[in-house]
Symmetry: C2
Subunit: 165 residues, 2 copies
């Protein structure tokens, strides 16, 4: 069966940009000079390209990856939240407020029985229980919150651009 080609919504990156993305994904502090040498362009060109990647939103930011257990949050959980009624405002409020809650690492609005997965890092099991009760179960519109303790977290090893080496 022939592959259906849909119109690309986003202009694809050229090889050089892809490699820059991959390099900065692996080491976000790699010096511009090194980046330039690796991809084979002048330093000034490299600077422009990286800036454009940021402006276009390909690179959303460069952030230190912190081990939560080393900063007083050794207990992680993935909490499946189910809404009742599915009023639009509930989702909008949730979307706006949940990222600001203490210890929230991320949240995912998903299809299926569960509406949101909330990934959280807490000081203790007690603090996790309080988080769920205070901020999720107790929230208007929320029917149910099911907490799964996280025993272990794995991070993807490949780069998103697929240009590893």
């Amino acid at each position: 069966m022939a592959k259906m080609v849909h119109p690309e919504v986003v202009p694809p990156l050229d090889r050089i940009d892809q490699r820059l993305v991959a390099l900065l994904e692996k080491d976000g502090r790699m010096p511009n000079a090194t980046l330039a040498r690796e991809v084979g362009v002048a330093e000034s060109t490299c600077l422009v390209r990286v800036r454009q990647l940021r402006e276009r939103g390909v690179i959303r930011g460069i952030h230190a990856d912190i081990d939560p257990s080393m900063v007083g949050r050794p207990v992680q959980a993935m909490i499946a939240v189910r809404f009742g009624g599915h009023r639009r405002t509930h989702f909008e409020d949730f979307r706006e407020q949940v990222p600001k809650l203490p210890g929230v690492l991320g949240a995912f609005h998903v299809s299926g029985a569960t509406d949101y997965f909330v990934h959280v890092a807490c000081e203790s099991a007690d603090a996790l229980r309080d988080f769920v009760l205070d901020h999720l179960t107790n929230r208007p519109g929320v029917l149910h919150a099911e907490t799964a303790l996280i025993f272990d977290t794995l991070k993807g090893e490949g780069t998103l651009s697929g240009l590893d080496e």
Copy 2:
């Protein structure tokens, strides 16, 4: 009820280290000189502290945050994987191999009915189906894989150290 004090497994960070962590979490490329000024120590001291934070594993790395939809992977999913038998080797194999699979952003070994949540970014719905069938459903030991499409991803806004401003 009095608070039970457990022995700390990790030595707590002092205020300066906490602030360095928070600053690098927000901007992983912040220059050492700026960091030093912000936290009120000499540049050389700052350099030593940041290096120690990395060596101690508090800072696990500094990485560019890439928008998957901008690099050809516009379809994200959270896949709940359930194992049968729960043989140790199955978990060990999974743990070792899943991070290497193309498009895997992360995976979480959790308590409860689900054993693993796998977060993946794919080229298309077709590619997602193939990923689930080829790498999860088809895997020895895996009983079931339930795919939830991700409509929206939220990232935690607070810093882990709690020292925002």
